[in-house]
């Protein structure tokens, strides 16, 4: 429970600075510090137990399905790191209070910092490796925010993104690695995994697992070849650099290697990969650091180098090397944090971090200079300081390391790295602080406020103390920690300044002297570097990212080119491919159903259809012709329905077709009258081939279905339509009763279409659309807008058609017909008036609110269904009864008729709304005002406008 608290306190406390900032910066800093301190104290309260060798665990399940639990454990390693993280955190909080200017949002900074801190603590205290991943990725995220804190600077943004992408990317590899590890071990609890090393090491997945985990660790710890992100992260405010890149984030990778050391260290792969990666990183980091002119950049590559050192030690896979690694982690954290903060102070006070513009600061900012000199001496490996001790141990261990059969490889290269390391340390210290004071600083440098040098001073204390009394000061910590790393008893070793005359002593000496010589011959070395300049990692990274982006854009933008034919073509090709493959890979037999002999009219209809289809292929560019031909297809399809006993379908098809045709004609009036020609023969062939394949598939499937027998549920419908549904037209009974819910959905589709059309055209008389409408030029028109004979004929037809509509509606339940068809007939009757007398005139007379009609129709249909609910029956349960009317006789009334009425109203409303809206638009495109109708030719009684009574006779 306590462990969870230690982890959660920084998270929970993170909001405190956001709230506290309104009470001032000091208060904010104190409040933030208090949060960290609380966590630290809580942690320290367990120090006794940890140092007694106890392992504390606590956890609750989180997501058992995947083995994720909210569990923590505390041993020496975790304790060591957690104290480092929290302790260093306190110093950084103090330092940042003074470092950041009053314009910077300090509260936000502390907010990020605490989140980051919590994530780091989480990493080192997690027992569950999936939980560890959570925290791991959180550090990437929070560090992204911290590095990008000064987001107005492009460098900050770039650096933050790079850090996120590289460490986040590594984190993804780690996810895979951890999942593999957990699956191999059969548990995701670290404390158990550490017990199951044998199982893991014998797994065939060992190497991939290790590689993936190393991918996470190496990216986080900036190991070669992922080292390049770290210097760019230096765009962050110095407190961030000091925290993230000395003590915490980059150490996460080290922590992970140390944590899993007992599991992996004894494998060949570990040694073969980890040790050289560390060595190379150490060397390259140092070499690059030497030539950096930016203080923070120099320190950053130095950090890379030191991380490499630590990694190498862990990679050597011996317990003593592990001890050295732990010791160096501690030492590096102290002097490097001190150096970062010093560099920050120099930058803060002198206004520059460029080593070429610095010098002689010892006299100008003595406190800072002295502290920094001590820290850099430690970094250089000068005896009596802690850096010397662990570096010497490293050199000692390297002499025991035989890699690839070459006993000299590690010692020589390690010494070389130490030499370069000494050189850049000298360069850092001497070029900045020693020499003659300069007077060309952007600002007049002086020592910063105590809040900025005090944290450095606090860190210098262990640098010196450990350097002088290693066994006393650092001994227990190192031992307890190393024990936890190694997981078993440690061999004999001593932390001491003097180990006698050992190879390591010589190597240290060579490194120091050689380092000084190298520093002195800096110009020569610099020329050398230019000659042997390796590829710039940043450029490679940038190149890779932009190549990736460009590649992605090329792929996406060439495929998603906005071409509908291509989209549909691909979709149809997939359909054809899947359909054919699916069919051919399953058993199929020809059907045995007896076929119907072909009738002559059917054959003729087929010929007509085929001819029209072929004609459409060639003539579709003439749009009016295409429409006329399509009408022909509709006619043949309706005939087909009649031929095969589907009168309702024929009625529906034919009446829908005419409305569709009129809609298309209305649209065509404003659209171009022809489609442009296709010049591309290949495209035409591809199109034709695909069309033929789809057509063949559809036809073949239909044939296969039609030629076999089957059992269907519709026997029930045929049997029950009359007795239970109260109608003899089974199709209608299905529509309004058995499957009334389908019909309910269907009229809603119509209703939605209408209101969408309404909304779409509502705005067509404004803006660009209106301009287009005004510019449309029509070919020559007939001067007679409303032909007299047409007007008269349609007037006679109107009541006739309405009568027919009522008839069709009434009998729909028993004979072909019904609400939908009746609705269309009414619509057709009204359309006739529009066609003959003009929309304006006719619409004036149809005093119906079409939109309300749609809503009302749907509501009526719905209410019919709801009525049955109220009676305790399911939605849309119909009933029917016989009533005996005088004169009329007994008639049967089914409640489904009311439902059909809803259908009827909706259909009429839909057609009316759609046509009304289009007519509004068409009107705008007219060349000149159209006579208001109904008849243009002036006759004795022919020209009565808007009058309703028939009295205007002369």
């Amino acid at each position: 429970m306590l462990l969870a608290f230690v982890t959660l306190i920084p998270f929970l406390g993170a909001v405190i600075p956001l709230l506290a900032i309104r009470f001032g910066r000091n208060f904010c800093a104190i409040a933030t510090g208090a949060v960290t301190l609380t966590a630290l104290l809580l942690l320290l309260s367990e120090a006794g137990a940890v140092y007694r060798g106890e392992v504390l665990t606590w956890g609750v399940p989180w997501l058992p399905l995947i083995g994720l639990s909210f569990s923590f454990f505390l041993d020496g390693l975790g304790f060591f790191f957690a104290v480092l993280i929290l302790g260093m955190g306190l110093l950084i909080i103090l330092y940042a209070r003074y470092y950041l200017s009053s314009k910077d949002p300090l509260g936000l900074f502390y907010f990020y910092l605490l989140l980051f801190q919590g994530a780091m603590v989480g990493i080192v205290l997690s027992d569950n490796i999936l939980l560890l991943l959570v925290f791991w990725e959180l550090t990437s995220l929070t560090s992204f925010l911290l590095i990008g804190y000064w987001s107005q600077q492009p460098k900050s943004r770039e650096g933050a993104q790079m850090a996120l992408i590289v460490t986040g990317g590594g984190g993804l590899a780690l996810i895979a690695g951890m999942l593999l590890l957990g699956h191999i071990a059969g548990t995701f609890e670290l404390s158990e995994i550490l017990q199951r090393g044998e199982v893991i090491r014998s797994s065939p997945l060992l190497v991939p697992t290790l590689l993936l985990i190393l991918g996470g660790a190496f990216t986080k710890s900036a190991q070669f070849p992922f080292h390049f992100w770290l210097p760019h992260a230096m765009a962050a405010p110095t407190p961030v650099s000091a925290y993230l890149h000395s003590a915490t984030m980059v150490k996460a990778g080290i922590f992970l290697l140390a944590r899993l050391w007992p599991v992996f260290a004894s494998t060949d792969a570990w040694f073969l990969i980890v040790a050289p990666v560390g060595l190379v990183t150490m060397l390259i980091g140092a070499w690059i650091a030497l030539f950096r002119n930016d203080l923070k950049s120099l320190l950053a590559f130095s950090t890379v180098s030191h991380l490499g050192l630590t990694v190498m030690l862990l990679g050597m896979a011996t317990p003593l090397a592990a001890v050295a690694a732990v010791f160096h982690i501690l030492n590096h954290a102290t002097f490097k944090a001190a150096l970062f903060m010093s560099a920050g102070s120099v930058d803060h006070e002198a206004g520059t971090r460029d080593i070429r513009r610095l010098g002689g600061l010892l006299t100008l900012m003595p406190i800072t200079a002295v502290l920094a000199l001590v820290a850099s001496a430690s970094m250089a490996g000068i005896p009596l300081l802690n850096g010397f001790l662990s570096k010497e141990m490293m050199l000692e261990e390297s002499t025991h390391t035989i890699y690839a059969g070459l006993p000299w490889l590690f010692p020589v290269l390690a010494t070389l790295a130490a030499l370069v390391s000494a050189a850049y340390s000298f360069r850092f210290a001497i070029s900045t602080f020693l020499g003659a004071p300069r007077d060309d600083y952007p600002r007049r440098p002086h020592d910063p406020p105590v809040g900025m040098w005090l944290p450095v001073a606090i860190l210098i204390v262990p640098v010196i103390a450990i350097g002088l009394l290693p066994a006393l000061i650092a001994g227990p910590v190192v031992e307890r920690t190393a024990l936890a790393v190694v997981g078993r008893a440690l061999p004999e070793y001593t932390l001491a300044i003097w180990h006698g005359i050992t190879p390591a002593l010589f190597m240290s000496f060579i490194a120091l002297v050689g380092g000084f010589v190298l520093f002195k011959s800096y110009r020569f070395a610099n020329d050398l570097r230019r000659v042997f300049a390796g590829p710039d990692a940043k450029r490679i990274y940038d190149g890779a990212i932009s190549a990736l982006t460009a590649g992605a854009r090329w792929v996406i933008e060439t495929t998603h080119n906005g071409s509908l034919p291509r989209y549909v073509g691909v979709i149809l090709s997939v359909i054809v491919a899947v359909g054919f493959v699916g069919f051919l890979n399953a058993p199929h037999e020809a059907g045995a159903r007896a076929m119907i002999p072909t009738s002559f009219p059917a054959l003729v209809s087929w010929v007509v259809l085929a001819a029209i289809c072929i004609a459409l292929l060639f003539w579709h560019r003439e749009r009016l012709l295409a429409l006329i031909l399509t009408s022909g297809v509709g006619l043949i399809v309706s005939l087909l329905f009649i031929q095969f006993s589907a009168p309702d379908l024929a009625l529906t098809q034919i009446s829908v077709d005419v409305v569709t045709t009129i809609l298309l004609l209305l649209a065509l009036n404003l659209l171009p009258k022809t489609s442009p020609g296709e010049t591309n023969t290949a495209g035409r062939l591809a199109r034709g081939g695909l069309a033929a394949a789809v057509g063949f598939g559809a036809g073949a499937l239909a044939y296969a279905i039609m030629t076999r027998d089957f059992q269907t549920i519709s026997d029930y419908h045929l049997a029950e339509a009359k007795p239970e549904g109260g109608g003899t037209n089974v199709v209608n009974v299905i529509l309004v009763d058995f499957r009334g819910f389908d019909t309910f959905g269907e009229i809603i589709v119509l209703g939605i279409a209408a209101i969408t059309i309404f909304a779409l055209l509502d705005t067509a008389l404004r803006g660009a659309a209106a301009r287009t409408l005004d510019s449309i030029r029509h070919p020559e028109q007939s001067m007679d807008a409303h032909p007299l004979i047409l007007v008269v004929a349609t007037r006679v037809l109107l009541p006739l058609a309405l009568t027919v509509a009522v008839f069709i509606f009434m009998r729909g339940h028993n004979e072909p017909g019904g609400g939908f068809i009746a609705g269309l007939i009414v619509a057709i009757a009204l359309i006739m008036q529009y066609l003959a007398s003009g929309y304006a005139w006719a619409a004036q007379r149809a005093r119906i609110d079409s939109q309300a009609m749609i809503g009302g129709g749907i509501a009526i249909a719905g209410l019919t269904g709801i009525a049955s609910l109220l009676l305790g029956w399911p939605f849309l349960t119909s009933t029917h009864t016989y009533i005996d009317l005088p004169l009329v006789g007994e008639i049967e009334i089914a409640s489904a008729i009311a439902f059909d009425l809803g259908v009827f109203l909706t259909v009429v409303g839909v057609v009316m709304v759609s046509l009304a809206q289009i007519s509004r638009v068409e009107e705008r495109a007219e060349r000149e005002p159209v006579p208001e109708g109904p008849i243009d030719i002036p006759l004795r009684r022919g020209r009565i406008v808007g009058s309703n009574d028939g009295t205007q006779e002369s």
Binding site: Q152, Q161, G168, R553
Partner: protein, 510 residues
């Protein structure tokens, strides 16, 4: 109790009908009615979820006709989950829209309610043709909503969206024709019974029908390369609409789970698991293209659209395995990505609103006011979308990886899932950095003081939901596990639909 199953269909239908006929000129009244109805819908969905959580499938026989002759609605854990998700999302989107979006075109609220009707109907129905009908209701309402507000880009994208969906609907009908032509039934439970008994000579036809049906759902679910409609549509739709559309692709996924879990599942005899060989490769391709698209995006809307594709890829990977654990994962991911995608689209809207002419283009522009709050919301949403901790995306990703561990293609799946995450990270880091960080110091757009807070609250709630999904992953996943178990074991479903209970609901007619 059971009679409430029809409520998620009736309520929005009648609400919309009333909105069209009675209050189509009174926006305030429309808002009130729409919000009240959606709240009620949420209440009903919660109740139904509670009802379904006993693990029993409940059947509602429309018109009191016995199955398989009439249409049935089936409430089980899966449909209840989808209903709940839909209504919760709807409420969030509606709350966002009433802040002003709904006034930019006509009939927003009616279309919105119709859209809910389509979705709810599709989730509840136990009949494949009725599923077609509600797909159409859902689609046509989505056309209306998508076109809400007008503009050339919207019109053109709308045309493509409609055209492609009409092709898909045609395919749906052909698939239904094949399936009916072989089995003689439309009821899903009845199909589940009849499919295993199909004669050898008919298997190819039925299988083709099943695969064509799969393709229909795949088009809705934006499987690559059937996804063409999605990027342009989502990029052209208005933000609240796009946010609501976050559920649209999920309908495809739902339909795959329902149809290929119940009818063509493990018990389907010769046709067992017909979909399985196809889904996983397509899902991987989908994920890959989604990630590429993210990387290629030039606008925030592109980013959001392709993140939908990528999330569908991830989701479908899990769907494609058709085992209980994987399906659990899929459902978790489905819930997660619906809420998070919605949040993302709303964020995009909030951003474009504040960037003047630049809108959502990923080019440096003036910084946007409200950036701290908005930036935080963007960051959190991005975290959730990419699948970084501590939000639900990370849990979802872990679950997907975990569920696919045993798959022979695990290495590929993992590489793609993780590689896609990296690409998303790159894309979102770049986008966020350009939008929120690359600033030239001048501020445009409404300032903090006079900007409306409600939209942000909606986004915050959605992000909060993602956090809750993560924190309470245990119980959530437990419930989804039960859901997956039920979905993959059709026996209970079949029994509920075709078994007893018919006698009590015989039609009163006659």
């Amino acid at each position: 109790m059971t009679s409430w199953i029809i409520a998620p269909a009736i309520l929005p239908a009648m609400t919309a009908a009333l909105l069209i006929s009675a209050w189509r000129r009174d926006i305030q009244m429309q808002r009130l009615v729409s919000v009240v109805a959606t709240l009620a819908l949420l209440g009903i969905a919660i109740f139904l979820y509670h009802l379904a959580s006993d693990g029993e499938a409940r059947v509602y026989r429309l018109g009191a006709w016995p199955a398989p002759y009439g249409i049935v609605l089936v409430l089980d854990r899966l449909s209840a989950t989808m209903l709940l998700l839909t209504s919760a999302l709807a409420l969030a989107v509606l709350a966002y829209a009433v802040a002003g979006w709904d006034k930019r075109g006509r009939h927003f609220h009616a279309l919105f309610q119709f859209q809910l009707l389509g979705l709810n109907g599709a989730f509840l129905t136990g009949d494949i043709f009725n599923l077609f009908v509600f797909f159409e209701v859902m689609l046509i309402a989505s056309y209306g909503l998508m076109l809400h507000g007008g503009g050339a880009r919207r019109l053109r994208a709308g045309f493509q969206y409609v055209a492609i969906n009409i092709v898909a609907s045609a395919l749906f009908l052909i698939a239904i024709g094949l399936i009916y032509g072989v089995t003689g039934t439309l009821n899903m439970a009845d199909l589940a019974v009849k499919v295993p008994q199909v004669e050898v000579g008919d298997q190819a036809l039925l299988k083709t029908g099943a695969l064509l049906l799969l393709l229909v759902f795949a088009i809705k679910a934006a499987f690559v390369p059937l996804h063409w409609w999605l990027p342009a549509t989502y990029a052209a739709a208005s933000a609240p609409v796009a946010a609501l559309f976050a559920i649209m692709t999920k309908v495809g996924a739902y339909a795959i789970i329902r149809v290929f879990g119940t009818i063509f599942g493990a018990d389907a005899g010769a046709l067992a698991n017909v979909a399985v060989p196809w889904i996983l490769p397509a899902a991987l391709l989908t994920l890959f293209v989604g990630a590429l698209g993210l990387l290629a995006s030039r606008t925030l809307l592109d980013l959001a659209s392709f993140s939908i594709i990528a999330s569908m890829g991830t989701l479908l990977i899990a769907v494609g395995l058709f085992d209980v654990d994987a399906l659990t994962t899929a459902l978790y991911y489905l819930v997660h990505s619906t809420l998070v995608s919605a949040a993302l689209f709303l964020i995009v809207d909030l951003v474009s609103e504040r960037r003047g002419q630049t809108l959502d283009a990923l080019v440096p522009a003036n910084p946007i006011s409200q950036s701290p709050m908005l930036g935080a919301l963007f960051l959190l949403t991005a975290i959730a979308v990419i699948g970084l901790p501590p939000l639900s995306g990370f849990i979802g990703k872990l679950m997907v990886l975990n569920a696919t561990y045993e798959s022979p293609l695990a290495w590929l799946i993992w590489a793609l899932v993780l590689g896609a995450s990296l690409m998303m990270t790159i894309a979102f880091a770049r986008a966020g950095s350009i939008i929120f960080w690359a600033a030239d110091g001048r501020t445009t757009g409404p300032t903090w003081a006079n900007a409306r807070v409600e939209p942000m609250v909606v986004v915050a709630l959605l992000v909060g939901a993602s956090a809750m999904l993560a924190v309470f992953a245990g119980p959530v996943v437990e419930a989804l596990h039960a859901t997956a178990e039920q979905a993959l074991d059709p026996a209970g479903y079949i029994d509920a639909v075709l078994g007893g209970g018919q006698a009590t609901t015989q039609a009163p007619g006659g």
